[in-house]
Amino acid sequence: MGLMKRFSDVMKAKTSKMLDKAEDPRETLDYSYEKQLEMVQKVRRGLADVATSRKRLELQATQLQASAGKLEQQARTAVGVGKEDLAREALNRRAGVQSQLEGIEQQRQALQAEEDKLTIALQRLQAKVEAFRTRKETIKATYTAAEAQTKIGEAVSGISEEMGDVGMAIQRAEDKTASMQARAGAVDELLASGALDDVTALPGGDIQAQLDALTAGSSVDAELAKMKAELGAGAPAPKEIGAAGEESK
């Protein structure tokens, strides 16, 4: 037997089990409707969860982009003061941040796709639940318990199939969200440690501190050179370094 038929048989078996439960088939209508309303709520909650996870990724991406920008600036500064090793270190770290960003973007897209699918699934389910509610009232008002059986069977199995489908979509979205959480947690820890944009936390030293020291040093040198020029290009004595104390402007 092909897959299409087997899938639909599994679904029908489930539905008929539910129909057999109620003594008065009309009770099945109310029971099913309750389940439908629960499912609508479940899909709404699922959608909210997926959206929350997506927003968390977006926040992380913003933070990582800031880190990448900072590291690039540090690399430029390092090149400016001739510290190629520092520049290299900063660029290496930026490459790491970029690859994190790419991973996050892929996950964000996957969650967005789940969100879109669930949104459409919810609309479809709501349309069917509303149709079911109308049908339910008609059946209860029009038919005796004995007559109602077949009318109910079609309505209930139709909506049950939809609920099964939506239930799977929700499960899938939850699985994706869960697998994403672990990785997002790791990125949050990295961001919180400052390791991504402030390398004090890592072996290899603090790029920014070293750069600050270097740029401070080079501005002192510049001041000195300026003073020497102002004092006339006489004989520059090594002692002049002692005059550096005045350079606080």
Partner: protein
């Protein structure tokens, strides 16, 4: 007849298309039985695409079961096997 693509909803398909869809379905189930991931992907895509081509979406407020149900285009081999196992399609 009405056919459901899981995750996408129901489509009305003319009976005349059934033979062709059955052939695509046979190819799919044989890929599932073999556990051939690449073949599974191809045959599932073929079936889903063809159903979309020959089917007309059923109005969302239609209440009725589907004669046939096929997995969504991004279903994995493991998912399909899980659905065919005793767990069934409806959670709970």
């Amino acid at each position: 007849m009405i056919l459901r693509i899981l995750g996408e909803g129901q489509l009305e398909v003319a009976d005349g298309s059934l033979h062709e869809l059955n052939e695509l379905d046979e190819a799919l189930i044989s890929a599932v039985d073999k556990g051939d991931e690449a073949l599974f992907r191809t045959t599932l895509t073929n079936l889903v695409n063809r159903v979309r081509e020959v089917g007309q979406p059923v109005p969302p407020d239609h209440l009725g079961p589907s004669e046939y149900i096929i997995p969504g285009p991004d279903a994995t081999l493991d998912e399909v096997r899980g659905l065919l196992s005793e767990e069934g399609l409806i959670p709970g």
